[in-house]
Symmetry: C2
Subunit: 378 residues, 2 copies
């Protein structure tokens, strides 16, 4: 086990801070930060901003060059193992080798077992000292989705629920405006903006006719660090097993990508009216005649690091019942909607306490008048 100095930790902390700047914009790439240090002084900083553009290491090297600093013998702190392959950009490991740095400190290895250690080996073969594992947990949380997708091919799945103290998402007649307050609703907008895709069910579309996009003006504090043009809209995925949707719902009027997932095809007449930003996916039905969620997630895993499920109790409950959920985010309003209200999650009729879902509290904080809980599911 390598031991790191306080200075090393400070520098990696800064690299993580830089990586965080890319949280809303790098997908499907990971958010990565890099700090270059010469004689205990930072000579260059960089982070990955947008997929297809410079990686963190390249940007940090460019920053050092721009300031006229030599990188020969420097130490590079990187939040993720430098890549070793030629993609849209040349390998970052090569960049560091060419810059003649002496030491590279890495927070976490590449998540893809097929490529992990390759970047490290490339650096070591060039005689560079490599140390791995500094602030690994902190660096991991920046890229939970990317890491999971690289390992499993599936996106990180978050189920979002807004409910009352007594676990209801609406009155019995469906009225739900507003359970949570404006601060929580802004927080949901920021959550959407971080995710590659948003999944909902056709029932939600028919009942509420939502647009399901991210509204820039509702991003609150995020607006100071994210410009309107940098905002990336999540893919809007609607599970419509029986192909009931038609082009006259609100979500179609917003020109960002939509994926309609059904178990049967839409009629030609209906399809003809869908706008160009709509894609169709037909998947196998499960035994209940619904879209098979495993197949859906495998499909989305080809391009999405993370998806957020904002759906009714049945679909959200189904993701949990099928053990497909990584995180449950609950916005809890200090209200009582009453026993006749709608339950937040349709789950099995458990017969003993050892059957209930295993959830672990990861974060709890006040968001305006409401409380936001983040639970990990295992």
């Amino acid at each position: 086990m390598t031991s790191f100095s306080v200075f090393d930790t400070q520098m990696m902390g800064r690299a993580i801070q830089l990586a965080r700047k890319g949280l809303y914009t790098t997908r499907p790439n990971p958010s990565v930060g890099c700090v270059l240090v010469q004689d205990s002084i930072i000579i260059g900083e960089g982070y990955h901003q947008v997929a297809g553009q410079g990686h963190a290491e390249v940007n940090a090297l460019a920053d050092a060059a721009k300031q006229g600093h030599s990188t020969v013998g420097a130490t590079a702190y990187v939040t993720l193992e430098p890549c070793s392959h030629y993609g849209r950009t040349p390998p970052c490991a090569l960049g560091l080798i060419n810059a003649q740095v002496a030491r590279v400190v890495i927070a976490v290895k590449d998540a893809n077992p097929q490529v992990a250690d390759n970047g490290i080996a490339m650096l070591q073969d060039a005689g560079i000292q490599v140390e791995v594992g500094l602030l690994a947990a902190e660096a991991l949380t920046l890229n939970l989705g990317f890491m999971k997708r690289m390992k499993t091919g599936l996106p990180w799945v978050t189920v979002k629920v807004a409910a009352s103290l007594d676990g209801k998402t609406a009155l019995s007649n469906g009225v739900s405006k507003w359970i949570t307050g404006p601060a929580a609703r802004q927080d949901v907008q920021r959550m959407r903006a971080r995710h590659c895709a948003l999944i909902t069910g056709v029932e939600t579309i028919i009942a509420d006719d939502p647009s399901l996009n991210v509204r820039y003006e509702e991003l609150g504090s995020l607006k100071s660090s994210l410009s309107p043009t940098s905002l990336q809209q999540p893919l809007r995925v609607v599970l419509d097993s029986q192909a009931r949707l038609t082009a006259d719902f609100m979500l179609f009027s917003i020109e960002t990508p939509i994926l309609l997932v059904s178990t049967c095809g839409y009629s030609d007449a209906v399809q003809a009216l869908f706008p160009n930003h709509v894609s169709l996916l037909q998947v196998k039905a499960n035994s209940a005649g619904r879209v098979c969620l495993n197949i859906l997630l495998k499909y989305l895993g080809e391009s999405c690091n993370s998806v957020v499920v904002e759906a009714g109790a049945t679909l959200s409950g189904s993701f949990i019942e099928h053990n497909l959920v990584d995180e449950l985010v609950l916005y809890q309003a200090p209200k009582l909607l009453g026993s006749e209200g709608r339950n937040m999650l349709s789950l099995t009729d458990y017969q003993s306490m050892d059957q209930i879902p295993k959830i672990v509290l990861k974060d709890q904080r006040n968001v305006g008048q409401d409380t936001r809980f983040v639970f990990g599911l295992s």
Copy 2:
């Protein structure tokens, strides 16, 4: 509006701290603290410990005398207006007059409108300077029950619920052991110990056969400041509209007072087997054939400052629906019991958001793995 010095505030703060020591033992009297100050030095302290024994002022004066301090010209800080009547002890106002204090600072006036200002007038008539209102809100919270009872004749009513994130108190088959963790269950024991009475319904007795007493060994941190002999058991009140209970339930085996409340009498044969610590109360049925809660609370208000309702969803919900609840204490466990579980509160089928109960968050904190919310109802 009188303005108080920082020193005054510190002294009243100390008096409140003293008053708090009586929280578990003074009922049905209020918890009161008193500090005597001469030349900016505390010369005596006292608090009311047990009903029938010395009041705070008397104890503080005795403390000063014991230490050989003169109280002539001193300032007395009292958390509640000194009493002006002869009860089990002589009026405290008279005690302060006889001690020749020069100034009395009072946090809050007596809650009983019939006697409020009498103690103050008695002091002023004796030429003592009286100032009222220092740390009034803090002092009030010590005696919410006493204050309400003095004003309205009704006890302070707290509904306690332990539920999951999705608002369930048990699985559909009734299994509820354990939703909350040991720390929350200890906290409930301390809450019971602070209350004059505990109300439950016959269904809870039949389903769970609880003893409903306070178990000293489960009082946790409170044990260091409360001896086993000082612990006062709450009156156990069971609402048994149809007089279904018999003497073979667990609660009868514990020899602290029980009040059985029915709308019809128990048969002679059943009554004959009830132990001596059981009292019976027969009250009018409401339109649903159940015990009229208003009548019950008026009866309990004769001797109880505060009652805690630990009952099923129907009875707890009924207290809320009838606007009889001052506070809702929710222990929320980080668990999902599922949509088929039992709802925490049976409430009306509300048709719009303006019909739901008005609740205001007063306190929120972690208790072990669980969260304890305290809401005020209005």
